[in-house]
């Protein structure tokens, strides 16, 4: 499951842990740091890496509360969507679970760029989870 530090993450992680426990699966959470082309891909932007680490710390803490284990990773990539799909293919994951928060663009509800890309190109089933209380 890709995590971005939004309000939706917490519930999504709990759901992922419960699903994994039921099917004896494994949860793998990834935070993707997007690096602009003005920098080399291996550039270490401390503020971004720190942010990603904090997000994953939170993920681990929630998983611990759920009595589950979660594997976490930070990825640096040029674009978030292709990085998620590519990693899912490489790892052969069975399900992508993404938490989304309510966002508007030009006054309309918007899923952004990443979610549609993953939905279109994912090699496996995708579950989108949106918190009911957020943004309403």
């Amino acid at each position: 499951m890709p995590v971005a530090g939004t309000h939706a993450d917490e519930e999504t992680i709990r759901l992922a842990c419960r699903l994994a426990k039921r099917d004896k699966g494994k949860v793998w959470a990834v935070s993707v740091v997007a690096i602009k082309r003005a920098l080399p891909l291996d550039a270490e932007i401390q503020s971004e890496i720190k942010k990603a680490e904090e997000i994953l710390d939170k993920v681990e803490a929630i998983a611990e509360e759920e009595d589950s284990e979660v594997e976490t990773d930070v990825l640096q990539a040029r674009e978030v969507g292709p990085a998620i799909v590519d990693e899912a293919v490489e790892r052969g994951v069975g399900l992508i679970l993404m938490g989304i928060s309510y966002k508007q663009r030009f006054g309309q509800f918007s899923l952004g760029n990443v979610v549609p890309y993953v939905l279109k190109n994912s090699p496996c089933p995708v579950i989108l989870y949106q918190q009911s209380s957020v943004g309403k």
Partner: protein
């Protein structure tokens, strides 16, 4: 220590840094690498043909082929270096590992000049092509003003962080190749005239030996963007296979097209002696800043409007993309130099808000803008040649030195055709390429007066900044190095 256990006096909690989590996502395959590299290299024909033909005259096609061989050897060197040391610094990164920070600085600073000139020459030429539809943009100072507007626009885009589409880039390069191939095929069918091409050559007179040397050295500008290979090393999937394939593909496409296009141009615009007794061609007299439009101008009337539209549209988009590539290259190189204490933090630091080295982008774009104001494409080509061959020589020398110093360093791609000297494998192409680029640099220094003056001034300015910066730091990193060995 788990948080659930109560801490006792003297206990300390240690949370190790999770380095293992840090992964890079490499996604570029051969098509992606080809399109990015060709997007840079392929753009140069839009200005290089006129600049080279101005001095090489009837020998332009063979001159472009000779420099194409140098390009191939240099590209192979970059391919080995980029897969071995996948860092953004290109020749500067190779020299840092092979020699010392000073050589690395000179190589990086020369490369920085190339990136700046790439920005200037591409933005300036893009506007010159646009002048086909907006004639006011054809002449100075409006073409310079337009070029500066392009640079300012790209600075804004890069600092604001608008995403560029890689799919759009691939599509543009694809249409560009198709258009260039179409012009070349039409040229072969309708225009290329071998007797005329032979008549264009007046041995020892047009070009004179000096002009020929000048032409060979300035023809390096036809291969702008070769450093892209080094930049992409860290983003290539299976670099040991994809990078050499992409390099060879770019080489064959480029050398075929450049040769055919130059033959077409010189068949259509023969070399002649003007009223002042000088040997010239109308390609450079009338189309110096937009030579491909010169070729289109001699095509049959019924296809001319369509071809002109495609050439102008593609030249403008590809050249703006090349300007952007130069800006991104300068930005990445500034980051690399900042990481190695070669550039003050005030220039190289990453802006917290923009998450790119915003000051570097602005600083080097101002210099690029200043160069555009001259409105002299030959000056820009001179400067490019000065920086490029210096950086290429450093790259070749570094690859050879690393084969000697660190023969066991993992090399995902190793240049073939090696000779064994004292048990070390030395790549023949790097030796020939290194000698060729070094000799070319001497020719540039000897024959290009403006290039020599401005080029050396650039190096001197850089070295002054570097020396001042090193001295201003109380304890440079290398002073902390613990020397191990016998006393």
């Amino acid at each position: 220590m788990p948080d659930s256990l109560p801490l006792r006096p003297g206990d300390r909690v240690f949370r190790p840094h999770r380095v293992k989590r840090f992964h890079l996502k490499r996604v570029l395959g051969i098509p992606g690498l080809f399109s990015t590299a060709y997007g840079d290299v392929g753009s140069s024909i839009y200005y290089a043909l006129g600049v080279v033909a101005m001095s090489a005259l009837g020998l332009t096609p063979p001159v472009l082929m000779v420099s194409g061989i140098i390009f191939l050897f240099t590209a192979l060197t970059y391919a080995e270096g980029a897969t071995m040391l996948p860092e953004a610094g290109g020749s500067g990164a190779f020299a840092f590992r092979a020699f010392n920070p000073w050589v690395s600085f000179v190589a990086s600073w020369a490369l920085m000049l190339d990136y700046i000139v790439t920005m200037s020459i591409s933005a300036f030429t893009a506007i010159s092509y646009l002048g086909y539809y907006v004639p006011v943009l054809k002449d100075w100072p409006m073409n310079s003003f337009g070029g500066i507007v392009v640079v300012v626009f790209l600075v804004f885009i890069n600092i604001r962080g608008v995403q560029t589409s890689s799919r759009l880039n691939i599509a543009l390069v694809f249409i560009d190749v198709i258009t260039q191939v179409s012009i070349a095929v039409l040229g072969v069918m309708l225009i290329i005239n071998l007797p005329q091409l032979i008549q264009n050559i007046h041995w020892g007179v047009a070009p004179t030996p000096n002009q020929l040397l000048f032409g060979i050295s300035i023809s390096m500008v036809a291969y702008t963007g070769i450093e892209t290979v080094a930049n992409l090393g860290s983003e290539a999937r299976r670099p040991e296979k994809s990078i050499p394939w992409a390099v060879m593909l770019v080489f064959f496409v480029v050398i075929t097209l450049w040769t055919l296009l130059s033959m077409t141009a010189l068949s259509a615009y023969p070399v002649y002696q003007n009223a002042d007794g000088q040997w010239v061609t109308d390609l450079t007299q009338r189309f110096l800043n937009d030579p491909i439009l010169g070729i289109v101008n001699v095509m049959p009337l019924n296809i001319r409007p369509v071809l002109s539209f495609f050439v102008v549209f593609l030249a403008v988009t590809i050249l703006i993309a090349a300007t952007n590539a130069g800006m991104l290259g300068a930005s990445r190189l500034a980051y690399f130099m900042g990481q190695r204490q070669q550039l003050p933090g005030v220039i190289s630091n990453i802006s917290a808000r923009a998450r790119v080295p915003a000051n570097a982008i602005i600083f080097f774009s101002i210099i690029a803008g200043a160069l555009i104001t001259t409105g002299q494409i030959t000056l820009l080509a001179d400067l490019y040649a000065f920086g490029a061959v210096l950086a290429y020589t450093a790259a070749h020398a570094s690859i050879i030195a690393l084969r000697i110093k660190e023969p066991d360093l993992p090399r995902p791609f190793k240049i073939p055709w090696n000779i064994r000297i004292r048990g070390k494998q030395i790549p023949v192409t790097s030796v020939i390429g290194g000698l060729a680029t070094f000799i070319t640099w001497f020719i540039v220094v000897y024959t290009h007066e403006i290039g020599r003056v401005v080029g050396f001034a650039w190096l001197a300015l850089g070295l002054l900044i570097y020396i001042f910066y090193r001295n201003s730091r109380k304890k440079p990193a290398d002073e902390w190095e613990i020397k191990l060995g016998k006393k």
